[in-house]
Symmetry: C2
Subunit: 415 residues, 2 copies
């Protein structure tokens, strides 16, 4: 029998009525003759609420205790979903990461999965039970509870699908498919029926919020058949994320996305000596801070400016790390720019076509938008622009690359 | 160094401000040079809220999933309390029952503790950490999460104190001490500085809500020095619960209590054959339903009426069990009486003094209260009366046995 892994995010399990709706999607798959593992996040705004409680007690709560606190959220959603599935007449059992054996490294708040035991899950599947697994959480070999950080539940689902050699992994969300741009910002966004891992990865990295890059990376690594679907429209096939070999042609530009959650940090007047940049980024990495766009510019003789972007939630942590480094390396100042949006275009076919970057800059110029920073790779080009220009930038680029659909997108979600 | 176990109930950790208050009581004990283990329940009304969510999904949720759900409540309170203790400058670590190794039998929703591992707790205590342990929950040898049922957190605390050979176990609550009657119902209730296990056990069994009988039984069995204290008044020594040997004299009547949560079930016209009563109570016991007062009356030749009381939360379950039994044994009818209060007097010295029962009946007669059912033991006498007569009954009996204090009780709690 084929194993199917399904994943439902917090908004899909926000209240008992929605949990019953999820139970329908789950039992439908089960009644089609599949063995089903469902991964769920915490209900709705639970995580935000728990973080708020913690912050009323401590400004910088211990990450070990924070993981203990936050992982309670999935414990609630998995047991309620198991009850809802049982209520609809199918056998189900909820399992915590500690009960499954989702082993992570011993880092709190953003641990990576190192191993997944499959024996207990398989025992329950073979007893015809639907397994409801807690996403986002893991356990260290010493029995400490960890959480996986941003995009954790997507990653849990894909990693479980890989470990169980599942036929596919369906990520349910509140959109019907992946689009060439966010339809809430670009009404003429076109629907994509198929994207490659590499394209999806880049789309995710540049801010398309539908799938977390970590989960796409894991899917690519283990060749997990990923599908993005709507939990409100079970008949829609959604978007398939497939290996490069499964793509007939590469689009020069697959999609356009804006990331509004980045901040730019610049370290000014860094002495131009070997190993200085390495020191800066090593320190950030040791503190588990991910750095995105990096630009080093030679300001005047013997001095560089180093600028880069980090996620806004890492800003305070980054500043305190960098202040120490700044003193050590004798740089003059650290400057933060909050008013930025990272606009990116992604396309695996980009590498073969000249003029794509020029086309993007042209579109921004047409719209009168100033570019603050540029970064390119083989499959994407990103520009930082002022935050309030993000929507205009997306629309202009989307039109420029002829991605516009014939009809404007109509929002099917009644949130 | 002496180990002290402290226990705080849900109302003591109902919000961040109260959790910080608990942290004060904990660090005070720690700074006195003790090794401290704190047991906490879920915050305020969390358990009620979770049960409500479950009932929106299923009328009779699976008890295994209900235990998974409810045990998330203590996970929240232990991590927040650990953060609050850390914030006040003392090292602390939270531990789930599964991490400690609080092993229970494989029964859901009212499991009994069979073993407690102490190695991990002791390792943390020896590293000078305050251990914040989740009450109410346990784990089976197979790794399934269980809950201990009513009074579970008190039981967790006492069992931990026994396993760790703690110097004492302080149960913090929202009253200053144990009284001869509930001061909210009997304003002239007198304070007790010392009670014996047996007296406490009976007081708890008959409805004095301050300590759960299971926890007192465990304390008696392992000779744990139990103290009941107020979390709002840390300087009040509270009431000490001690072994029989530590009591100089036995009071004929230690206290009076009303239990308003019982319902009376009567099975009418039960054929008078051997083994019938055994069958009834065996079935109830197999379904984990505790039966309190039992009266069998010979109605007419060859037929008995069997009446007994159960906790109101067990009523639905009891009825469905009994309906099957009724058909098997060919009894005529099952009758439920919800309008009852169980009024009890308790006193270890009762056995040596004649006339105590008569005094109680007399007090009820003086107040014009009809008695529906009587049950006696060596240390207590209980009478069922109509629910609306409970307060009057308590006051009349309290006065009769000269338990009234000189001054009326003034409520110190500003809830």
């Amino acid at each position: 029998m084929a194993i199917v892994v399904q994943k439902f995010g917090g908004s899909s399990v926000a209240d008992p009525a929605k949990i019953k709706n999820v139970a329908k999607a789950v039992t439908r798959e089960y009644k089609n003759g599949n063995q089903v593992v469902v991964v769920v996040s915490a209900m709705g705004k639970t995580t935000d609420y728990l973080v708020k409680l913690a912050n009323e007690i401590a400004l910088n709560p211990d990450t070990r205790e924070l993981d203990m606190l936050l992982s309670s959220g999935e414990q609630v959603s998995i047991s309620l979903l198991a009850m809802a599935i049982q209520e609809s007449g199918c056998p189900a059992i909820s399992m915590l990461a500690s009960q499954i054996g989702i082993i992570t490294e011993s880092i709190h708040s953003k641990a990576r999965i190192v191993d997944i035991k499959t024996d207990k899950i398989k025992k329950h599947l073979d007893a015809n039970k639907i397994v409801v697994a807690a996403g986002f959480q893991g356990i260290t070999p010493e029995g400490e509870i960890t959480t996986l950080g941003r995009g954790g539940s997507d990653t849990s689902a894909v990693a479980l699908a890989a470990a169980l050699k599942a036929e596919r992994c369906d990520i349910y969300t509140d959109v019907n498919a992946i689009y060439t741009a966010d339809p809430r910002m670009v009404p003429y966004a076109s629907r994509l029926d198929k994207v490659s891992y590499v394209e999806m990865l880049e789309l995710a990295r540049v801010g398309a919020k539908v799938l977390h890059p970590r989960s796409v990376e894991t899917a690519k690594q283990f060749n997990v058949h990923l599908r993005l679907r709507s939990s409100f429209n079970l008949d829609d096939p959604g978007t398939l994320v497939v290996g490069d070999d499964d793509m007939e042609i590469y689009r020069p530009v697959t999609g356009v996305a804006a990331d509004l959650k980045q901040v730019r940090i610049a370290i000014l007047k860094v002495p131009d000596r070997p190993g200085i940049a390495a020191k800066v980024f090593m320190k950030l990495s040791e503190n588990n801070i991910s750095v995105d766009m990096i630009i080093q510019s030679l300001e005047e003789e013997q001095f560089n400016n180093i600028a880069f972007t980090v996620h806004e939630s890492d800003l305070n942590n980054a500043i305190s790390v960098l202040e120490k480094v700044r003193q050590e390396i004798n740089a003059s100042e650290i400057v933060v720019d909050n008013n930025i949006a990272k606009i990116s275009i992604v396309g695996a076919g980009m590498v073969d076509r000249p003029g794509i970057a020029a086309g993007m800059f042209d579109a921004l110029a047409d719209a009168g938008i100033n570019i603050k920073l540029i970064s390119t790779s083989e499959v994407k080009i990103s520009c930082l622009v002022a935050k309030e220009k993000a929507e205009l930038a997306l629309k202009s680029i989307h039109k420029k690359f002829e991605l516009d659909a014939k009809e404007p997108h109509i929002d099917e979600i009644a949130n």
